[in-house]
């Protein structure tokens, strides 16, 4: 056990509630402690604004209209249940528009899709290799995301995190601390 994990609520939309995790800041109030997702936003606002915009617009749109369906995420499971954004189809890169041109979006955000209503957002980076666990940029984020998904799944089994009555959101004690 290296450190602590706390869940942090990020945003609610009509069909999806998004959460993230705060690592190793036990004494800081959860409201002010930056989560992995907020750190990801800060870094890529400076470095990859339009690619980040594409991912955040995507989260908003599926959050409002479609729900977090499986096909809206990229399946990159490896030693855990972490999935990625934007989605991917059979070796073809996802595209978006940058400066008016269609461009592959190689920025990855790793997540844990609990169901079509709840998604935990972690972090990511620019992916330069086919396999996430072989890419020097995203490997660390991807492996951490997989570890965290396993920890969160265990917390469900231990009933430290529970579903609400219709599985549209999760609940947990404010002081919940998990360990990684």
């Amino acid at each position: 056990m290296n450190g602590i994990v706390r869940l942090k609520h990020i945003a609610d939309y009509q069909k999806v509630c998004y959460y993230s995790v705060v690592l190793d800041k036990e004494d800081e109030p959860i409201e002010t402690a930056d989560s992995l997702f907020e750190n990801f936003i800060t870094i890529h606002t400076a470095e990859n604004l339009e690619k980040l915009n594409h991912i955040l617009s995507w989260l908003t749109e599926i959050g409002n209209k479609y729900g977090a369906q499986n096909n809206y995420f990229r399946d990159e499971q490896y030693q855990g249940e972490a999935v990625g954004l934007p989605p991917y189809a059979m070796g073809r890169p996802p595209v978006y528009t940058e400066d008016g041109e269609t461009t592959p979006n190689n920025l990855r955000l790793y997540c844990h899709r609990l169901n079509s209503n709840v998604v935990i957002l972690f972090a990511g980076a620019i992916k330069t290799q086919d396999k996430a666990h072989e890419c020097p940029n995203v490997k660390e984020h991807f492996l951490l995301a997989n570890r965290l998904t396993n920890i969160i799944d265990q917390a469900f089994r231990d009933k430290e995190i529970i579903w609400n009555h219709n599985d549209t959101d999760i609940d947990y004690h404010e002081d919940l601390i998990l360990y990684y």
Binding site: L7, K8, H9, I10, A11, D12, Y18, I30, E31, F37, E38, I41, T45, L49, E50, N53, H54, L56, S57, W58, L59, T60, E61, I62, G63, K65, Y66, N71, Y72, P86, P87, Y88, A89, M90, G91, R92, P94, V95, Y96, T97, G100, T102, N105, I170, D171, Y172, H173, E174
Partner: protein
């Protein structure tokens, strides 16, 4: 559990978001979802659809993921193959009126008035 009062994603988009990217995501997702819905309704599988379109199943998978930038040409072919309208253009401009009003006073320069109307 404490819910965040702010919407971290929404706040970022309000401050930094490019409406063009936002619209592109909306449109691509809407088209992909509509095509997937038509396929389901008509009982057409991805492979069959790919064959009808003359494309590979992987290309069709990409279309249905919502990340593909559809061209009008591709949409037209999808509509033809499926026999359904994928994009509905809400307002159709059927006619435009153009009037010229000439002033009675010879020394006064001609005044031009433009009026237009449309029917949907």
């Amino acid at each position: 559990m404490k819910k965040n009062k702010n919407n971290i994603i929404g706040d970022w988009l309000a401050k930094n978001g490019n409406p063009e990217i936002d619209r592109m995501v909306k449109h691509n997702l809407a088209i992909a979802t509509k095509v997937a819905h038509i396929l389901k309704e008509k009982g057409i599988g991805k492979s069959e659809f790919a064959e009808k379109m003359g494309k590979s199943p992987s290309e069709v998978s990409k279309w249905l993921s919502g990340t593909h930038n559809f061209t009008v040409k591709t949409i037209a072919k999808i509509e033809h193959v499926l026999g359904e309208e994928v994009i509905h253009v809400e307002k159709e401009y059927k006619y435009v009126h153009f009037y010229i009003t000439k002033s009675k006073e010879a020394e006064t320069p001609t005044k031009y008035s433009f009026m237009s109307g449309y029917a949907s």
